[in-house]
Symmetry: C2
Subunit: 422 residues, 2 copies
């Protein structure tokens, strides 16, 4: 039998409340497969850790440390927004990766991220045929945006969905209390660049006649100010108040963004923001209602205190499965969640080829959006409700969650060469 080799694991893109649970899954499964994997090195700040030869030696972590990852939000190893270019565009980067991987005898590559990261993982899986350095690369799915294809859901999304549904349920009760003499319209702005999954999750809070939110605004439905204002007025006249969950990515009929904060991130995506404030202005100037708005932003994706039990279990499971698949020979795949039934929700682990995953965003299906474009359908509810089940509370000490305080042990560099990522 072949000697065990080492593994490289990294976190990529926007972090979530439960991505560290996937890390725990990878590390714990690797420790159970010592015949294949010796040490798991985690990249400090994602793939940058490999390029900069900043590798965190996870063998210095006790089993209790690794278990603590399951209840700690964000990325303890550091994440990054950095996308590898094509082989022809920046060969030096790939040469550098191989140099570092060789120095650390890396035979397994686990990349924990979303669509852009799947593309990086795909390129790594091709290092053998393209660059003569065979390596098994498996993608561990993670994105609060729920926009990866070929998986029932994306680890990280269920917790964001739960946060959103709980938050707008609570804010709706607040508005209902005050509407007679004060605020009548409340807008919650949620993250979600192109797909309306997170806004849709807000709709789960509306379970009975008269519940908020009464209006959801999705990027998938062009924003029409006239129809929006008419619906707000109708709702206030009927219910006395109106709560709204608006995706940051809603667009004008011509496809331009309704609100732009200006600037772009490292992937060339426009940085968004300001939707709630602009909607509030519209409500005030056109309808004259007193309003308030909240912007959830990173609070929603880091809200480990209200994480979904289902999401946590799936995040951990995809980490474990990535190792199990890699040690039995798989590469160039993403681990996926497969739904077996809606109610009771049953799921199992599957896989999908990275060629079909990378750079392929999954929008909300049209049948998940109500005909008028302002809410979710029963089909969406059936899909989404299982994902927010269970309250995976962290432990508390002195009134605050006991999140893991990680002091990483960096491996001694071996290449004797510095490299600066572009």
């Amino acid at each position: 039998m072949a000697e065990p080799r080492n593994a490289f694991y990294a976190q990529s893109g926007g972090v979530t409340a439960v991505i560290n649970a996937s890390a725990a899954g990878v590390i714990e499964a690797a420790r159970e497969h010592r015949e294949h994997i010796d040490t798991v090195y985690a990249g400090a700040n994602g793939i940058l850790g490999a390029l900069h030869e900043e590798l965190i030696d996870t063998s210095a972590m006790s089993d209790a440390d690794v278990a603590a990852l399951k209840h700690t939000p964000a990325g303890v190893f550091g994440s990054c927004r950095y996308k590898l270019k094509g082989f022809d565009k920046n060969l030096a980067e790939y040469e550098r990766l191989i140099e570092v991987f060789k120095a650390f005898d890396i035979g397994y590559f686990f990349y924990n991220g979303g669509g852009d990261s799947a593309d990086t993982c795909l390129k790594i899986s091709q290092l053998g045929e393209r660059m003569g350095y065979p390596i098994r690369a498996v993608h561990v799915p993670k994105t609060m945006d729920n926009d990866l294809p070929l998986t029932d859901t994306c680890p990280g999304f269920g917790s964001v969905a739960k946060y959103t549904a709980v938050s707008i349920a609570e804010a709706s009760l607040d508005i209902a209390s005050m509407a007679r003499s004060s605020t009548k319209v409340f807008i919650l702005e949620v993250m979600g660049r192109h797909a309306g999954w997170t806004a849709a999750a807000g709709g789960l809070a509306a379970r009975h006649e008269g519940d908020g939110p009464q209006i959801l605004l999705f990027p998938e439905v062009a924003f029409d100010p006239e129809r929006f204002l008419a619906r707000v007025r109708e709702t206030v006249e009927k219910v006395g108040w109106c709560t709204i969950v608006a995706s940051e990515g809603i667009t004008n009929p011509d496809g331009t963004l309704f609100a732009e904060a200006g600037g772009t991130d490292a992937f060339g995506h426009k940085q968004l923001g300001g939707v709630a404030a602009r909607l509030a202005d519209l409500v005030r100037s056109e309808l004259g209602y007193k309003h308030h708005y909240a912007v959830a932003d990173y609070l929603m994706r880091s809200a480990r205190h209200i994480a979904s039990g289902t999401d946590l279990a799936q995040s951990y499971a995809v980490g474990r499965a990535a190792v199990e698949k890699a040690v039995t020979g798989s590469s160039g795949i993403m681990v996926s969640i497969e739904r077996e039934s809606d109610s009771p929700y049953r799921w199992s682990i599957g896989e999908a080829p990275l060629e079909d995953v990378a750079n392929n965003e999954r929008m909300m299906p049209r049948e998940f959006i109500s005909e008028d474009g302002f809410h979710i359908t029963e089909a969406c509810r059936r899909y989404m409700l299982p994902l927010i089940q269970g309250e995976a509370y962290p432990d508390y000490a002195d009134g605050l969650p006991q999140y893991f305080r990680f002091r990483p042990t960096l491996a001694e560099p071996r290449t004797g060469r510095r490299f600066e990522a572009a």
Copy 2:
């Protein structure tokens, strides 16, 4: 012994995650004192319910219904922003109140609110000497702003403090994960009109060297852009990132508000908002760091899912105590919380004369703010940490909190006269 009389209870001003627990305290205590109090009528939408003769008959609520109030945020009876004018300014209002109180044989008045509401409660307590309608009026303190004087803390604040500390702790982990290649500065805007209590609560999350938030901005400290930007740069250069909790009410050195959303509420207070967005602009234009911001707004005061156990216990206790004090003859007072020791935190119920409470805001003491004005001191931490102890989770069903769905039973009007509040 005198015949029992009825009680009027109402919720006033901005609601909180735990004000309904005070309602439960009032109703449960009244049910234990049937020799003094027959029926508790709750005002629909605060004092407006009395003026409009919209009285909710709480005797129609089962004991289980009343208990359910303890885990339901916002004001189930409806709250209002409506301040009674002076006796000389709007006599008709007082005459109307007496008309309704007489019709319903109201002998006890319990008003659950903040500083403005304490003023209303004081005026009601004077109905005997001023208008010949003696009534025992006791104020049940409630305000997320923590700005009532003569009480150790205000029910509602502990939960907001816990929400703020937990949220910024989580967001800080997120920023720390991403700072190498992405967002370096994060700003959380919190409510709090004149006093910095809620921003101060964010400081509880910073327990160890390097923890966020590194900067707190209080209304009590004039905002100096130069010093702020210098501190942000210093922090990013040292730690790699910087998180900030900013009160919506921060002011320029000339005393004007740093950001104004325009408009005023029924009490004549300016409606605030936009601080985080403006701070973010400043950081981008002057320092060039990538940033994000969140606006907590009503999410923070309705966040029953992360309510403080201490706060819940105190909210319930002040409701009970109001009834116990009133039936033994007290009037014109506010129930208060008295601190007996910091650690372990021990508190008891006290009282304060409403003359000294009404319209008297308690600012943060200077010794709670660090010398540089950007953080809290150990004295503040000693004061505030007890208030966020305990996680008073609501029950969940199907992934969402089981908040009480109240269908109020309105008492048949008895005055035969309609009245419209101004």
